[in-house]
């Protein structure tokens, strides 16, 4: 019975024209990334409320499902059934296209992320450039949202957000140049490969200042606490998405969390060796040959997930720990602290590369 079904499905698959097969095959792969990503976003929101709750000696959501495990779905369903309000003075087309423009790229950026050896949807040589380009589109979405709403709070939030994202993109860009200098490739898979050979070969050590600059800039890029003046509740209500309700708000929310996970994954890939095991070179190679333990300790997607989860947790930890920065402090940090640090470190790295400093530059 099952065998027959398989046979007929395979038959249909063979009958499809090549173009359609390619399209369906790629769509399937994309769904394999997108659905876990959506689930991760859903449970990241729950984790945020739980973690911050526990840090403040509260319980966090615990009513829907076992210990609140169904809370994200309750939230999603609630938001879906809410009215989408279109303000009278808003530019309707731009108002509705802004959330699409924010959500689309934050999902599409995942196409080049290498999850394991050779395991990425698109193994392109301009991977990092693509991520930079796609994540910049988000700024347009934010500005459009703020401008099209025709509300003063939204407008102020959009201006703040755009200036902040743009300022920190400079520091991020310079940090990326540092990564490129050491790895010699824009292909994210190659960047991980260039860190092969044990924990000392990871980019974390030679690029330590750039690592911190990138991590903190990543928090500012996603407009998260302590850099969340963009939606500072006490001054401009909710910032650029104050006029958005129901599903349109949910889209901004989804995009923000997807971007947080993306930045965490990028930090893990560029500075912490992606899927590479930290035990490489520490325990003898024979350990990796042991059936189950070797698989767990050796390279694999689980290490990437673990490292990503660590930085995702950092986001929540920072939010619970640090008070909000003032806007002039944010701009000063971006322009007057991070930019000089990155430039100085690029010069140092250039010298190290010129003299072929082992073990990273030979």
């Amino acid at each position: 019975m099952i065998d027959q079904a398989m046979q007929s499905v395979l038959g249909w698959w063979q009958l499809l024209p090549g173009g359609w097969r390619l399209l369906l095959w790629n769509t399937g792969k994309i769904l394999l990334v997108m659905i876990p990503l959506m689930l991760a976003v859903a449970y990241y929101t729950l984790a945020e409320r739980k973690v911050i709750g526990f840090m403040q000696v509260r319980l966090g959501p615990n009513r829907v499902g076992y210990h609140g495990l169904l809370q994200p779905f309750a939230d999603a369903i609630k938001l879906m059934f809410k009215e989408v309000i279109l303000p009278t003075n808003a530019d309707r087309f731009l108002f509705l296209s802004a959330p699409v423009l924010v959500l689309g790229p934050s999902l599409a950026a995942w196409v080049v992320i290498p999850f394991d050896e050779g395991l990425s949807i698109a193994n392109i040589d301009a991977g990092l450039l693509y991520i930079l380009a796609v994540s910049s589109v988000t700024v347009y979405g934010v500005i459009l949202a703020g401008w099209a709403s025709n509300s003063k709070y939204a407008f102020l939030g959009a201006m703040r957000s755009a200036a902040q994202m743009v300022a920190y993109e400079i520091a991020m860009g310079f940090a990326l140049v540092g990564v490129l200098m050491i790895s010699g490739s824009l292909n994210l898979g190659h960047i991980v490969h260039s860190q092969n050979g044990g924990i000392l070969h990871w980019h974390l050590l030679p690029l330590l200042p750039l690592f911190f600059v990138y991590m903190i800039s990543g928090i500012a890029e996603t407009n998260r606490a302590p850099f969340d003046v963009v939606e500072g509740e006490s001054e401009i209500v909710a910032g650029f998405h104050v006029e958005y309700s129901g599903i349109t708000f949910a889209m901004f929310f989804l995009a923000e969390y997807a971007n947080m996970i993306l930045i965490s994954a990028l930090i893990a890939i560029m500075f912490l060796g992606g899927w590479l095991s930290p035990l490489q070179g520490i325990v003898p190679d024979s350990v990796f040959a042991i059936p189950v333990i070797g698989l767990l300790l050796g390279h694999g997607i689980h290490w990437l997930i673990f490292k990503t989860a660590f930085f995702m947790f950092n986001y929540l930890w920072f939010r619970a720990t640090f008070p909000r920065y003032r806007y002039d402090q944010i701009m000063r940090l971006g322009w007057k602290v991070f930019l000089p640090i990155t430039i100085v470190w690029l010069v140092i790295e250039g010298l190290a590369a010129y003299f072929k400093l082992p073990p990273w530059f030979n």
Binding site: L22, L23, N26, T27, I30, M34, M80, V84, I85, L86, P87, T88, N89, P99, V100, L101, L103, G104, P105, S106, L107, A108, V111, A122, N123, I124, W147, S149, N150, S151, K152, F155, L156, M159, A163, V166, A167, E169, I170, G173, V177, L180, M181, G184, V237, I247, T248, A250, Y327, M331, R332, W335, K336, L339, P340, I343, L346, V347, G350, Y354
Partner: protein
């Protein structure tokens, strides 16, 4: 090699389609009862005092200009950094001069107070 970019294109399309589907879903599932008060711009319960396309601080504009300059510099650094392993000493000197000019400009901006927000 261009075939490698096909999934990128498909994913971008899927991203946009997902966005549009969610908009449609919200329209279908949610109620739709507009009224004048509900659809007015939020301004703490007041009627909006004026149009919100107001004058804004010129410093935002300044930040945008500085961003363009520095982003261009980064664009020039990218190919150099990728090819670093195959480059001669002359390429290092050339980039040192380039970054030197950038740093002079940066110091000038700093001294002029373009980076101050106060």
């Amino acid at each position: 090699m261009l075939g490698n970019y096909l999934p990128v294109f498909i994913f971008l399309m899927i991203g946009i389609i997902v966005g549009l589907l969610m908009l449609a879903l919200g329209r279908v599932l949610g109620p739709h009862k507009p009224d004048v008060k509900k659809n007015s711009a939020y301004e703490c319960g007041f009627e909006a005092f004026e149009d919100s396309r107001i004058k804004f601080d010129v410093r935002f504009y300044l930040v945008a200009i500085l961003f363009i300059i520095f982003d261009l510099e980064i664009t020039f650094l990218f190919p150099w950094a990728v090819a670093l392993k195959d480059l001669s000493a002359a390429a290092y000197v050339a980039m040192a001069v380039f970054v030197g000019i950038l740093v002079i400009g940066f110091i000038y901006e700093w001294k002029k107070g373009a980076l101050d927000w106060e």
